[in-house]
């Protein structure tokens, strides 16, 4: 466990430090999220009452589109100066590298989501009387599920032609269950309906995360080492 967590935390710290100093991804992804929010306003009447019932879907589409930008850079950043080779050669298992990268990406995505949420609620008239605790649970669970798949595929596509297109093409179909659960739960949270009938979606998120975190940890060796 120590061999896994030690290097993983070191890699996560490194990624977050690089991002804190360069801010190359988060600034761009946040601006892109604003662009998507703007584009949505043209597809329907943004002041209508029905916006509330589709608010979860809107929010998570913004998160998914902007999130892919962050994930794309996660391993692409390591191609400069052959950093990826050094990372693989370092005394850290492939699973530790994946875990560290996933942790860093989850923190970055959560920061991006936290920054986008207030703007979203202002633009689309979502009142701040929803259950913030539940929203946090959903954000963390769904972001982890999306990020763990996204990070594996970011590693997988890093040396592939058309990397920027390949990543969303592969990631979105597999993460559909996460997005469905997140959309459903977020909409319920925003509209103030009871949570009890929706617990199946929380279980889906937990199950998805357990299954794919395990699978990713087991298979990432083949991706990074070959």
């Amino acid at each position: 466990m120590r061999e896994l967590l030690g290097p993983a935390l070191a890699i996560a710290r490194k990624d977050l430090r690089v991002e804190r100093r360069s801010k190359e991804v988060v600034n761009a992804a946040f601006s892109f999220a604003l662009v998507v929010l703007l584009l949505f306003s043209f597809t329907f009447d943004p002041s209508g009452d029905e916006v509330r019932t589709m608010s979860g879907g809107l929010l998570w589409l913004v998160y998914a589109f902007a999130g892919v930008l962050v994930l794309n850079r996660s391993f692409a950043r390591e191609t400069q100066n052959d950093c990826l080779d050094a990372l693989v050669a370092a005394p850290a298992s492939a699973a530790a590298i994946l875990l560290g990268k996933t942790l860093a990406n989850t923190v970055l995505l959560l920061a991006l989501e936290a920054a986008t949420l207030p703007v979203f609620t202002i633009f689309y008239n979502v009142r701040w009387d929803f259950r913030l605790g539940w929203l946090l649970v959903v954000l963390v669970l769904a972001t982890w599920g999306f990020t763990v798949i996204g990070t594996v595929f970011s590693a997988l596509t890093v040396n592939v032609q058309l990397r920027e297109i390949m990543l969303p093409l592969l990631v979105f179909p597999i993460t559909i269950p996460v997005l469905m659960a997140a959309v459903q739960l977020t909409t319920v949270i925003f509209t103030g309906e009871p949570m009890e009938p929706e617990m199946v979606w929380v279980r889906l998120l937990v199950g998805f995360n357990v299954i794919f975190t395990t699978l990713a940890g087991a298979l990432v060796e083949y991706i990074l080492v070959g």
Partner: protein, 227 residues
């Protein structure tokens, strides 16, 4: 390069297909409520079953490749998934032709339709990924890993979509196809399924040979470049 075996396979597939057409269009009685359109079913459901068989074969071949590192298994994975995509496409195209007269719409985001479409997108993503990687060993390993993720993903997508539908009832629900099929219809269905399986095997033989030849050409090109 045509051999006697090729001719035999071609003849067997052609005979099976003619038999399937006879069963579906002449032999089986017309369904009472839906009428003549229901006959599409015999060319709709069997391709999907074959597509699922093709994925399972592709998945097993991918696992075998990662265990043995023998590129022959990569050929199997590629051939099976590419041929499977053809059958899945056939399933997705025949579906709306049946749905329009029966449901009144071409498409609905019902659990099975959505899952079938997601599955199709996964197949396509897999094949596009393969084209984007040059080195055969890397291509084989990465696409084998992707197959495993997609296999598990497809199962969860289907489960999630079932829950989604029970939460949001669709205006039109899929008629219980498997439930209470008349004996003649079952015979026609199984006959068509057998015919499509023969077609799958026939296409697999050809696609496997093509994959091996493709790899040979790639190797030759490499040799020429290194001269």
């Amino acid at each position: 390069m045509k051999s006697h075996a090729d001719l035999a396979w071609g003849a067997a597939t052609a005979a099976a297909m003619v038999g399937a057409l006879y069963l579906a269009f002449v032999w089986v009685p017309t369904e009472a409520s839906m009428g003549i359109v229901q006959r599409i079913f015999y060319f709709h459901m069997p391709p999907f079953v074959v597509a699922v068989v093709a994925i399972i074969v592709g998945m097993a071949a991918s696992v075998r490749y990662l265990a043995t590192r023998n590129l022959d298994w990569d050929d199997w994975a590629l051939a099976s998934i590419e041929v499977g995509l053809v059958f899945d496409t056939m399933n997705l195209i025949t579906g709306p032709f049946w749905a329009k007269p029966v449901w009144g719409i071409w498409w609905t985001w019902d659990a099975r339709l959505t899952s079938a479409f997601v599955l199709w997108l996964m197949f396509v993503g897999y094949l596009i990924l393969r084209r984007a990687i040059e080195e055969p060993g890397q291509r084989a390993a990465l696409s084998a890993v992707v197959t495993m993720f997609q296999f598990v993903g497809a199962i969860i997508v289907y489960m999630a979509n079932r829950w989604w539908r029970t939460q949001h009832p669709q205006p039109v629900l899929a008629g219980g196809e498997g439930s209470g099929l008349a004996p003649e219809m079952r015979v026609a269905l199984l006959g068509c399924l057998a015919a499509f399986l023969v077609l799958y095997l026939c296409l697999m033989r050809l696609r496997l040979r093509l994959a091996r030849l493709g790899r040979e050409v790639e190797g030759l090109r490499r040799t020429v470049h290194s001269l």
